[in-house]
């Protein structure tokens, strides 16, 4: 009966308009948050190098061939790059200054040996557990990160030998061996190696910093090691600025890294704009809903006042309005969630057809945004109802 008294004679079209506004705002809010998270996560896990990280070197020109321009980085150049607001960190990629060869050392794969080039990077740039990325003098096995191209090359070689090809997991179980020696071959040492991961970003074998230091200290001829490559980690969604800086400084990176970074930055910015618009839409639709509640209460001012005068408790009447709006917002949230899933189905298919394989799981962030929007709507309706009822008291 109270429901009939308070809610029967309301402005239906206005309520529907307010609900449509809230529905659209929440739908776009959770959709944009979901895809913003997904775009930022894109590529993570597949690459052992941290997100938004690239390895760059100076472009080689005719003048550098003749030694007119430098191809290595000075400490001051690195420090200047660090000062840029969109740069999170810059670290040199240290290379070996001694002779080193790499060979297979397992009965599962044919014998294969090659002189190689090893590098080390700051562990902060690597997406590996620090326990697995340690080596101390005296340790018999050194952990290594291989360029994925190595596995492709190894499988091609094995295929040509009519030997079954190997997967990432099997490759990580195989035994390998490094041979370290001085350039004049007066000193020599063998160390076992195990692959702990693969990377698409580096063309050389990555080893722990302590191993590189040991090798350089023990087997180098004493010449200074030049920094020819550096690792740069940039801010999310500001990859355009990183790219611009590389062009200005005559630096280059692997094209695939640049393309992914540019793509993520572009789509991320796009969803950030949609998110901004959605937040405004949710805010405005919230205001419209609250305004509708105020209108409803003002239309029912006489009824509310009379109910209080005949003995109804203010809390009882507040709860009536509150529960009514919990249901309204619940319906809006449910519709928004349904349309989000439909929209997600459509967008995931679209991304997949465009070659972007985005993980299809629902993000916790989008659900939290929905919960937060729902909580804010209901809380503001409760406070508005309370204020309105006590005004009539």
């Amino acid at each position: 009966m109270l429901n009939k008294l308070l809610f029967k004679n309301q402005d239906g079209p206005q309520l529907i308009i307010a609900m449509i506004g809230a529905f659209m705002g929440i739908t776009f809010l959770i959709t944009s948050i979901h895809y913003l998270i997904k775009v930022n996560e894109f590529g993570e896990g597949e690459e052992i190098l941290g997100p938004n990280t690239i390895i760059v070197q100076k472009m080689i020109s005719n003048s550098s061939i003749f030694g007119l321009t430098q191809t290595d980085f000075s400490i001051s150049e690195i420090e200047k790059m660090k000062e840029e607001s969109f740069i999170l960190d810059v670290k040199p990629v240290v290379a070996n200054n001694f002779a080193i060869s790499f060979q297979t050392n397992d009965s599962l794969v044919p014998y294969f040996r090659s002189d190689v080039f090893i590098q080390t990077v700051d562990p902060e740039f690597l997406d590996v557990k620090s326990d697995n990325w340690e080596w101390e003098e005296g340790d018999t096995i050194v952990p290594i990160i291989m360029p994925r191209d190595f596995l492709v090359m190894l499988n091609t070689f094995m295929s040509a030998q009519n030997i079954p090809q190997i997967s990432d997991e099997i490759a990580m179980k195989l035994n390998f061996k490094f041979t370290l020696s001085s350039k004049d071959n007066s000193k020599k040492e063998w160390v076992n190696a195990k692959i702990i991961g693969f990377t698409n970003s580096v063309a050389s074998i990555l080893v722990p910093e302590s191993f590189m230091t040991y090798g350089n200290d023990t087997y180098s001829d004493g010449t200074d090691q030049k920094i020819t490559q550096i690792m740069i980690s940039g801010e999310e969604s500001e990859f355009g600025l990183v790219e611009e800086m590389l062009n200005e400084r005559g630096l280059e990176s692997k094209n695939s890294q640049m393309v992914i970074g540019r793509l993520k930055s572009m789509i991320g910015t796009l969803f950030l704009v949609v998110l901004g618009i959605s937040v405004i839409a949710v805010f405005v639709s919230g205001l419209v809903m609250i305004q509708y509640l105020q209108l409803l209460m003002s239309r029912n001012a006489y009824e509310v006042r009379t109910l209080l005068r005949i003995g109804y408790k203010p809390r009882e009447i507040i709860n009536k309005f509150f529960i009514y709006f919990i249901k309204i917002f619940g319906l809006v949230a449910l519709l928004a969630l349904t349309s989000f899933f439909l929209l997600k189905l459509f967008l995931d298919t679209m991304f997949e057809e465009g070659g972007l394989y985005i993980d299809t799981n629902v993000t916790v962030g989008s659900m939290l945004a929905l919960t937060l929007a729902y909580a804010l709507f209901t809380l503001s309706s409760y406070l508005t109802a309370k204020k309105g009822i006590f005004k009539e008291y």
Partner: protein
């Protein structure tokens, strides 16, 4: 429950000269179980008395108390409890819900304390000869019919005081007498009292006390 008006002076009436026997500016006690007539001409403050006595107006000086407790200190929940179980009111403007039926108007009040069954409410309507209005919207009833509905609604709760502001102003003598009989029986049955404000007509009832404004 005793109601005490200690030197009460409503702000709108402060500029008017009041007699030494007026309830305004003097100490008056409304004792439990008394049936009181408040007879005064228009503009003397009958409705002001009603709304002040039930806590709807707070623009007065002096102290108004229920059993010694200043009503200015009562909380909204205290008031709800008082209006549900201790003081019932027939408002001058009736305060019915015009969009609800007579049945709904009565049940919405009765639901608070579950005082009567629907049958008992219907019986009271029958006594006042408006049982055929049970499913009609109150807004469509005449003022006299609405007054009778408002009186029955006021009955549909336990009370210690029934405050009525010109409750028979649109009723003929027969209907006034029937209403007064229902009010009398219900009030006596509960050991309660009432205050009836009127414009000079005492409706032939033997009151315990008469107040002046």
């Amino acid at each position: 429950m005793n109601i005490t008006l200690d030197n009460i002076m409503p702000t709108p009436l402060a500029s008017i000269q009041h007699g030494s026997d007026s309830i305004w500016g003097n100490k008056i006690e409304l004792r439990k179980g008394k049936r009181i007539l408040l007879n005064a001409s228009s503009g003397k403050g009958k409705s002001t008395f009603t709304t002040t006595a039930i806590g709807l107006r707070k623009d007065y000086t002096g102290i108004l108390s229920y059993d010694g407790q200043d009503i200015q200190n009562l909380t909204p929940d205290d008031w709800a409890e008082i209006r549900q179980r201790k003081i019932s009111v027939v408002f001058q403007d009736l305060q019915l819900f015009p969009k609800l039926t007579v049945r709904e108007n009565l049940l919405i009040k009765n639901a608070l304390t579950d005082t009567f069954t629907e049958r008992e409410l219907m019986d009271m309507l029958e006594k006042l000869e408006i049982e055929n209005k049970w499913e009609q919207h109150c807004g469509l009833l005449s003022m006299g019919q609405q007054q009778r509905v408002a009186i029955i609604r006021a009955m549909a709760q336990p009370y210690q005081w029934l405050i009525m502001d010109e409750p028979f102003s649109h009723l003929d003598v027969d209907n006034s007498n029937r209403c007064l009989e229902i009010i009398h029986n219900r009030t006596v049955e509960q050991g309660a009292g009432f205050v009836l404000t009127t414009l000079g007509n005492d409706h032939g009832y033997a009151y315990d006390q008469e107040l002046k404004l």
